[in-house]
Subunit: 332 residues, 2 copies
């Protein structure tokens, strides 16, 4: 059986490149009790994976050099030594970047493809969707007519945040980095205002113009100077939801910027970092509500699907140059 | 009647000086309906007043040039056109820096001097005590055995925060800037660890040594490099309570420092600015609990009382060089 896997060849300094990845062939071991053999169908590539390439303990352990990268994926069961799974079941879980893999069945769950296409379970009905749902509703706590600003608004999380905010009767302002994304946010997802941070000559003025009543909720996926410009316009009792800081993930020195505490202090504002796992006890609520909205066509969904297992590193690297519209997926 | 008042002579750039204040004589007008004439007994000087010297709208309007400074004070009623107050009543409220003043009685409340000495109502039973109470308990949400770090720990708010944290079975670490304060925190208020930020050669190491289990709650009155050192050691799900940023109040340029969002993100940490007014609906609970603790001798209280109305500017300026141990009060 010719199985391929992709390992971390070495830890990147700054922006990763293809040299940080290596494809290997391997022979799979036989199944132990409760294990299954899965054939990979789709992989999710996500910005958080950059943090795991560093040798730093974060909320999860780092990837190991010369060991496979792993992340969210969907596969089909080929062989099963678990009573919970049968040949042919379609499952999702955290799986290695490999065309086939032997994994512990406890880390997998079946997906219900009558609700939505398979890939949705890596996006709007998976980690990014739940991240949007809990970050916006549990931390941002939107009120009708609040102004909600979203950075990386055309990304996997941003498109869901913006649409939920619209469902909650907020004024939604999206920040993105190319005209296709800007057009999609405005024309297809009906955002109230959009800012192309790459073409504006004055980000501060763009935020001010797009938010005449100030910013009540800032859902931040980006960090850096884009965030500085938004935070300069927050309202009293604003909520800043820290979901990602993709502009800083490849920094080789400690990023420096204006100190935010004086602004947070005079505005009685909240800034809260989170990971989706903080809301684990409420996952079923989130999945149920998101599925309902998808079924009712109240949430549109966008994906960028790249074909070919070998394209995994390139797809991942593309996240840092904004190549994805919506969720970035690799189809094996 | 020879009445003196102190007005804002001009707006300071950077650290204020005596030149920003001017003493004037004036003749008071007669009382209108519902007004009272009060003779000032004590004034509170507080770091937040620095912000009101700038021509910037914050959560309250700025002081006006050539108009009296005002702030928390205690006085005795000399004449009353209000049915709620009689000659001889001792009251507190926001009053002008004047030896006597005609004020609207609606801005005053009587104090019960059977509970505690008069000056306590400007401190532990007033705004600083409530600030400590709500900031620590409602934002910090201490759990037993949490490590709580407090900057400006020997200040009016810090001494109350530390003692409440001890009552909640936390490990309490205080940061202060001279040996008398350090000794007081350790010997009299029984803080677990203390750090003199002026004498340590390595603030980062001092925080690490004082907090072997990391920092769960950081109650920050200071900001700047002291805060950077503490925030570098926060735990997962830490709470950073932004109460003050005194090290930055006299900045003439926008202060710059390491970006905090990556740390808050990977630690799922909260940073929340607040003013005591955010908790106005819970004030009676706070005052009742603080009074109870004071009566039971569970909270010790420290004050620095400076005598003489003319000393008001100097007492205020002393806040920025750390001259006060506990609450800074001026006795007329």
């Amino acid at each position: 059986m010719n199985v391929k896997q992709i390992v971390l060849a070495g830890r990147p300094k700054g922006l990763p490149s293809k040299e940080n990845f290596r494809t290997e062939s391997l022979v799979l071991p036989g199944l132990q009790s409760s294990e299954v053999l899965i054939k990979a169908k789709y992989f999710s590539v996500d910005p958080y994976m950059r943090g795991k390439m560093n040798d730093v303990k974060s909320y999860t352990p780092p990837y190991q050099v010369n060991a496979p990268i792993y992340g969210g994926g969907i596969g089909e069961i080929i062989e099963s030594e678990s009573e919970n799974f049968q040949k042919g079941d379609v499952v999702k879980g955290i799986i290695p970047w490999a065309t086939e893999a032997v994994v512990d069945s406890k880390s997998l769950e079946k997906i219900d493809t009558t609700i939505a296409p398979e890939t949705y379970f890596l996006g709007i009905l998976g980690m990014p969707g739940l991240t949007a749902y809990f970050g916006l509703l549990y931390i941002g706590k939107p009120n009708p007519a609040d102004t909600v600003v979203i950075s990386a608004a055309a990304g996997a999380v941003g498109i869901v945040v913006g649409q939920i905010a619209k469902l909650k009767a907020c004024r939604v302002v999206g920040i993105a980095g190319n005209e296709d994304k800007i057009k999609m946010l405005k024309d297809e997802l009906h955002f109230d205002e959009v800012i192309n941070y790459k073409t504006t000559s004055d980000m501060d003025k763009s935020v001010k113009d797009a938010c005449p009543n100030g910013v009540d909720i800032f859902f931040d996926n980006v960090g850096g100077k884009i965030s500085d410009a938004v935070i300069a316009h927050i309202n009293f009792h604003a909520r800043i939801v820290l979901c990602g800081q993709i502009s800083l993930y490849n920094s080789t020195e400690i990023p420096v910027g204006p100190r935010l505490q004086p602004t947070l202090l005079t505005k009685s504002a909240l800034m809260q970092g989170f990971i989706v796992g903080d809301f684990q006890t409420n996952f079923s609520e989130g999945i149920q509500q998101l599925s309902q909205w998808v079924k009712e066509n109240k949430l549109e969904y966008k994906e960028t699907i790249i074909e070919g297992f070998d394209q995994l590193p390139e797809a991942f690297l593309g996240l840092f140059s904004g190549k994805n519209v919506g969720k970035m997926i690799v189809k094996v």
